[in-house]
Amino acid sequence: MKNKLFRFKIVWGIIFAIFILAGGYPLYRHRHYSVQLICGPGVTEIKKLSDYFPPLKDTMADTTIFVLQGKEPGGKALILANTHSNEPEGMLAVTIMIEKAVVEKGTLYLIPFFNHSGGVNTRPGEGYPLYFSIPTPWGKKTFRMGNRDASPLDQWPDPDVYIHYPEKQMLSYLDIRNTNRTWPGRKNGLPMEQVTYAAMELLRKEKVDLAIDLHGAETMFPVTNCIVAPEKSMRIATLASLTVKSMEGFENHLESSPSKFRGLSHREIGDYSDTLPFLLECPIPFLDQPTGPKTEKLLLDGKDSFLLSLAKKKKLFVPYDQSGWPIEKRVGQHLSVILEIIKQYSRKMPARAIVIKDVPRYPELVKNGVGYYFSDPTKVDPKKIVNQ
């Protein structure tokens, strides 16, 4: 009897171990998977965030900054993507800029994986795919699907409530790992507070004029398909919004940055530096709660019959039809709005102008797709490849 029980336990122990290995190994691989980024002709320097705050060096919180400096001096802009790594449109837009943009005047600082730890994290309970692939003329380019928050492997434990620095506002305990709640950051804080602190150091030391933080939001969320800006950035945001609507035909309404909601980039960057902040939101049906299965297909084409039904009942905040909200439309919107904000600023401040060329805009993205702009890594100089 005793032997029988022992054998039973051994058999189930082995089954359990196989199950853990089969389920755990893909998660391990995801954490160590590198995305290949290809430096285009415009990249003049590659830096790390830790160059602005050395304690981040050799940690999972450190991330790569691609610098694109023009021949002529001018203004400077920082573009952040993957602040929330489950909103990959911004990261794809920045990846295209790294490959294609050429700066003639001024300087661009591009950070494709701002919350790097969040990019190697997954989202338990949400059933996300681990990766997504963009079809290209030469095959597929595969990216990690990350999480909104940094990995607990890199920052843990969480407090029972997160108290924002320096405003002391109480926020959800999870938000202490959310790099869009930890601005303006804290020198002696937790890793994600240090990430935003390092970014603030970059803004201050390099005297950056514009900071654009790229996001995505649910179609049922009122703050989607928009530019969020504080008072000081609102004029430029308004001109950019009106221009893309009239010239390129897509809506991108304006949202005012609430002064009582702390920790967000569009609030704190403006309050704690001279930089003008903007936060761009494009709609991601994948993030909505009332959708079908959370598949790679839904992430890429944004087509969902539940959302379509809710759109007919006028319960969404964006126009939604059979065509869904495909990735090329979302990436295209981000690129066009970025370019327009920079253009409007350059018009207002000619001495600090930034002139960029060769970045595709919304109509080209919709026509050609995202993958059209990615080069085949097997056919470029290996020195031009950066693994992230």
Partner: protein, 434 residues
């Protein structure tokens, strides 16, 4: 897609029912339902068959932090119990307050509310003070059936009480509404509803003889005193409060470590020698069903999301006409909590708040009203987290449904209050001071 997700939902329900019919435990029945959901989802590659182990392992981590808090908090209270602290506290409290019964009940209510209000978890209230309060209630003549009912309702209200309300925080994080101005919309109803609860469930006193008999049964451990008893609690609350007072200079320890530090204080202050390994083992043994439920609910939630069932639930709620929705909310909200625990707030709560907000309802009051309904679901199967903990800490061994039956009147009053708050949210906006 509707047919596909409905099919998977039916398989999940059917598997759970069959497993229960075959007399499997709640945890194994939930696991069976999860596996059935994953396999039926794999027919449509949602999730693909090869991904099922990854989805299950990933989902099992959804409530890891809750599992750690449950274990460390229960270990803490088990050490206090083994050292004779609980018997001492109960005897002293009952002897001192037995002549001022309402005051005693009111103080016990406040004692239950504080840990949950500070941490956002009703379970922490029960794990830290549930056992001594249950004994104190018994000493005050509250009947054995009503004690777990009182604890269940009060622990739920504790979780809803400010400053930390996890449901409200999840909703605020998901809807980009600042978590400010909740003190009155949450604090006032919690105090009023808590008082009503103890008046309804605790007003009847059993015969006086019961008290003397009860006191004679309690054996006091030599050497136990207020100092030895209170210092571990002081250590715990000091660690919780000190972070709030000095958030930028005091390190973040997290609730599990805070409970472990308090446990060490209790261990070293115990008047008798304790076997820590033995206490930890029996704690794990006692909590295993609850911890297993949390792990498996995380897996179930993951499979429901990957297969579209989670989205179907959210969609089903959103297509209900507004009038009918208000009528159904008292059922939908607690049931979502019973099935998905905090996941219910994300799946149903976030789109609901956006929807109601777009119709002119005041978001902060709506969230507060919903926050009163969610804790009720913690008494509902399959998880029934707070309900089951209430039974465990009060030593109740009767039929579980009896606890809910005893709590029916406070349940209805809380429900009506929550719904009225949502309906008249605009008129109650004066409560929001930020």
């Amino acid at each position: 897609m509707l047919v596909q997700t409905l099919f998977i939902s039916l398989i999940i329900i059917l598997a759970f029912v069959v497993a229960k019919w075959k007399k499997l435990s709640v945890e194994l029945s939930l696991f069976t339902a999860t596996l059935a959901g994953a396999l039926s989802g794999a027919i449509f590659a949602t999730p693909p068959l090869v991904e099922i182990p990854r989805q299950l392992v990933e989902g099992s981590f959804t409530y890891l932090d809750v599992v750690l808090v449950f274990f460390t908090a229960t270990l803490f209270i088990a050490i206090i119990q083994e050292s004779g602290g609980i018997d001492f506290a109960v005897r002293s409290t009952v002897v001192y307050f037995s002549r001022q019964r309402f005051l005693a009940l009111f103080l016990l209510m406040i004692i239950v509310l504080i840990p949950g209000a500070l941490t956002g978890a009703g379970s922490v209230s029960l794990l830290v003070v549930g056992a001594p309060v249950a004994l104190a209630l018994r000493g005050l003549g509250v009947s054995d059936n009503k004690i777990p009912a009182i604890l269940f309702i009060l622990a739920g209200l504790a979780a809803a009480a400010p400053p930390v309300n996890i449901w409200a925080m999840i909703l605020c994080a998901g809807t980009a509404i600042p978590y400010v101005g909740f003190e009155l919309p949450l604090g006032l109803p919690v105090i009023i509803l808590g008082t009503i609860t103890i008046l309804i469930l605790g007003r009847r006193q059993q015969e006086r003889g019961q008290l003397d008999e009860f006191l004679s049964k309690i054996k006091l451990t030599p050497g136990m005193n207020w100092f030895r008893l209170l210092i571990p609690f002081v250590v715990f609350f000091a660690l919780v409060i000190i972070y709030r007072l000095f958030p930028f200079s005091f390190p973040i320890l997290g609730l599990p470590l805070e409970f472990l530090i308090a446990s060490l204080a209790a261990y070293f202050l115990s008047p008798k020698k304790l076997n820590l390994i033995k206490i930890a083992s029996s704690t794990v043994e006692k909590l295993l069903p609850l911890l297993a439920t949390m792990v498996i609910v995380g897996m179930l939630q993951q499979i429901m999301a990957a297969s579209g069932v989670k989205g179907l639930i959210s969609y089903a709620v959103l297509i209900i006409p507004l009038g009918l929705l208000f009528f159904l909310l008292p059922f939908i909200i607690p049931i979502s909590e019973g099935v998905l625990t905090y996941g219910g707030a994300a799946i149903i709560g976030i789109p609901l708040v956006w929807y109601l907000n777009s119709l002119g309802y005041h978001a902060t009051i709506v969230i507060s009203g919903l926050s009163l309904l969610w804790p009720l679901g913690d008494g509902l199967p399959p998880t029934a987290l707070i309900g089951r903990l209430s039974a465990i800490v009060s030593g109740y061994e009767g039929n579980y449904w009896r606890i809910l039956k005893e709590a029916w009147l406070p349940w209805i009053i809380i429900t009506v209050t929550g719904i009225l708050m949502i309906l008249f949210s605009s008129k109650l906006s004066f409560l929001v001071i930020s």
